[in-house]
Amino acid sequence: MNEQTFNLDGQEIPFAAGQSVMQAALAAGVFVPHLCYHPEFRPHGSCKLCTMKINGRPATSCTTPAAAGMEVESDTPEILDTRRILLQMLLVEGNHFCPSCEKSGHCKLQALGYELGVMSPHFNHFYPDRPVDASHPDVLLDFNRCILCELCIRASAEVDGKNVFALSGRGIKKHLIVNAESGKLGDTDFALTDKAAQVCPVGVILPKHKGFAVPIGQRRFDAEPISAHVEEFKPIAAAAPRAGDKP
């Protein structure tokens, strides 16, 4: 059987049936910026960082099924500019202070900022008021950094079977909540060993009693840009499930 391919920025990308454009690109070693995508979960399509021009129309590459002969543009000035603006939107929507953040160097939002050359937040900061939740004995929730990718929600529901997290509110007031009448994580059955504790791409869900174990400067994205980690984001072959996306 002939291998099916599509064209991405001049490169022929092979794909397997059922793969999305993004999965096929990652499998072929082409890095695609993303925040709400995770190889162990179904595509979500909310962060929009993986937006490409597919057959002349903009679309999220994580939710678009690959098809033979597609013409796909990703590395163009216009698309890179759109992605930079999306990152800037996320940076001003929350409260992101990288120098004091435990996740600095392990954070995908920060790493993508470097990758795409985001030199400033550009927009006015919203400075939302988002109190932290320190009620759980082992985990701190710092909602200031939440980018609403819903990975913790999906992990808790689909892997842990606990439904610890959910979304509340609408539009710019949308925010993460936990499954307790008190609204406190300490009143849920959440555990540090949950899958949901491992998937946050930014610094919302943090283990307590341990901080800066790896010095800043020696962390995952300090040494190499996120695009050099493309192997870690490849779709999982059925025979080879991979471990969680741990820092």
Partner: protein
């Protein structure tokens, strides 16, 4: 009480919206304990129930007073003075908008367009519609609220909603007896009926204009354990109110169209998703459904042909985005109204993941006419590429606002003449997400091939400031964004902030460039139509009504975003001062 509500809905989580509404009607608000009890009743995670309750404007998870007064805040309400009236009401009640009175009696706030644009300014009191507000009504209403008079004892004429049918054609002029179209459809059979729909060239009336025959055929061929018919009566596009009139005057025709669709696609169950603002229609629509069941036009063995189908009315709760069909389906399943990733489309994976047809109220009514009179007859109205008629909701600066049904192809100029509009400066067609045209385009026509529309037709005469119109629309989109995708969630708020900056006299050319930039990102990257079109009003009017912006802009290239005087507002509020000495003299003020 909660147990009764849960039992009545069979503790079925997909009925969560109705459970929440009824619980709130009974208990006044949705307390944390109520949410917990509902969640355990339907076997859902508590946080998921809270997620649904918090998504919709008409559900409140904190007490909002025994009386909640919501002023419709469409631009047409503004033009009729709603903000002055609201302020007068707040003063009389010693209230700030959005706050509950100290004694927990009342709260006053604004809400998105309630579909009473031809009879505004309108309010919802405890989600019951009251149009035609005046200063006298405000005064009396405040007295009634203070005296804690139940709504049932308020003047009955306040609750009368006018139909204002100014021009009727084949739809609004329909006089068929209930069952006539359905009888013809069942006699012809599903294949022949589908062929008639295709022949008619009927296209969806909700705005997108997808061919109805194609949609029904695709759904019919899709495999599933059940098929569903959904009537989209969410009519949330500001300035649109024609479905309200169709459901008031021609409910049988709408239900008949749904039943015919069900027969074609093989559905046994249908839903009308009625926007929460039209709560007042619920009882009358239920009684029409009951009459149809009694007449053998709905329920088991319809017209003795062995065809079973029934319709249920499902109320929304204040969320414009639910007019998008996949968000509507999510809402119908008890969830947050977030548009789904597509494909797959509802015709194959819709309600409960089964094949589903979703059509607008007007589309179903037209389908019923086609069943009775034939596709060729229907196609004889309108233009070669836009068959049939279109109902317009006309509001704004004209002598006779109301509902006008025209064959497709009518010119904007003709509509303006018929409704008595003079000195018109602009017409916003199909609502904020549609287009804004000026006098040089008034000869354009209402048709899919020229100006397609879901029905809104808002007129602004030369006295109006187009900037105010657009600012109102931009605030609307920011309020109604579901928040799923980054560009719409953050971008609509950035646009809103830019408009407020320009309105405050701090805008420059730089901000206009920012608007174009945000428009490009929204068009490229947003998840659904709401985001794609959110900057439309700005982009259209920046081209056509440039002076409305330029006279507000500072001449300089750049204006710092930080406003020192505005930063002192909190200090002013804390000290209760607003005199000249409490302000910094700024360039803006000097310029004024």
């Amino acid at each position: 009480m909660l147990t009764d509500i849960l039992d009545r809905h069979r503790r079925d989580g997909t009925r969560l919206m109705q459970i929440l509404r009824e619980a709130q009607e009974a208990l006044g608000w949705l307390s944390p304990a109520t949410i917990t009890a509902i969640a355990s009743g339907i076997g859902w995670p508590r946080a998921k129930v809270e997620g649904t309750a918090s998504f919709y404007s008409f559900f409140h998870t904190r007490p909002m007073g025994e009386y909640r007064v919501l002023w419709s805040d469409n631009i047409t309400d503004r033009m009729l003075g709603n903000l002055d009236l609201m302020q007068a009401m707040c003063q009389k009640l010693w209230l700030e908008p959005g706050r509950v009175s100290e004694d927990g009696l009342v709260s006053v706030d604004t809400t998105s367009c309630t579909g009473m644009c031809d009879q505004g300014p309108a309010v919802l009191v405890n989600y019951r519609a009251i149009p035609r507000m005046t200063r006298e009504r405000v005064e009396l209403m405040v007295e009634l609220i203070r005296a804690r008079k139940p709504l049932a004892d308020w003047p009955a004429d306040w609750f009368v909603i006018e139909d204002n049918i100014r021009r009727a054609d084949i739809l609004l002029g329909n006089r068929m007896a209930p069952g006539e179209a359905l009888g013809a459809a069942l006699a012809a059979g599903a294949d022949a009926m589908l062929a008639e729909i295709r022949t008619s060239q009927l296209r969806g009336r909700g705005g997108a204009g997808f061919a109805t025959g194609l949609k029904w055929e695709a759904c019919r061929q899709a495999r599933g354990t059940a098929h569903y018919v959904i009537c989209n009566a969410d009519e949330g596009e500001p300035g649109t109110f024609k479905d309200r009139v169709l459901l008031t005057r021609q409910p049988d025709l709408v239900f008949e169209g749904m039943t015919i669709a069900a027969h074609i696609i093989g559905a046994r169950r249908g839903y009308v998703y009625l926007r929460g603002e039209y709560r007042y229609l619920l009882e009358s629509l239920e009684s029409v459904l009951a009459a149809r069941r009694a007449a053998g036009l709905l329920g088991a063995d319809i017209l003795g042909k062995g065809f079973d189908f029934d319709i249920e009315i499902h109320l929304g709760a204040g969320a414009y985005v639910c007019g998008e069909e996949s968000a509507l389906i999510e809402s119908l399943e008890g969830k947050r109204g977030v548009p789904r990733n597509r494909p797959p489309y509802p015709v194959t994976h819709g309600f409960l993941n089964q094949p589903t047809v979703v059509n607008n109220v007007e589309t179903f009514a037209a389908a019923a006419l086609i069943a009775a009179r034939g596709g060729d007859w229907y196609r004889s109205f309108g233009t070669p590429r836009s068959a049939g008629t279109k109902i317009l909701s006309v509001s704004g600066d004209c002598a006779r606002p109301g509902v006008y049904e025209y064959p497709f192809g009518v010119s904007v100029r003709q509509v303006l003449a018929d409704c008595g509009a003079h000195d018109s400066q602009a017409v916003q067609i199909s609502g904020p997400s549609g287009i804004c045209i000026g006098p040089d385009e008034f000869d354009r026509r209402i048709a899919f091939e020229d100006i397609p529309t879901a029905g809104a037709f808002m007129i602004f005469d030369i006295r109006r400031d187009i900037f105010d119109v657009v600012r109102n629309f931009i605030h609307f989109f920011a309020h109604e964004s579901c928040g799923f995708c980054t560009p719409c969630r953050v971008g609509t708020t950035l646009l809103k902030n830019l408009m407020d900056k320009i309105a405050a006299g701090h805008g420059t050319r730089y901000d206009i460039d920012e608007i174009y930039q945000l428009n490009r990102v929204l068009r490229t990257a947003a998840h659904c139509g709401l985001g794609h079109t959110a900057a439309n009003p700005l982009v259209h009017t920046l081209e056509k009504f440039r002076p409305a912006y330029e006279r507000r802009l500072k001449s300089m290239e750049f204006e710092p975003a930080f406003d020192l005087d505005a930063a002192l507002s909190e200090a002013r509020q804390m000290t209760g001062r607003d005199d000249a000495g409490a302000h910094l003299a700024t360039d803006t003020e000097n310029a004024r």
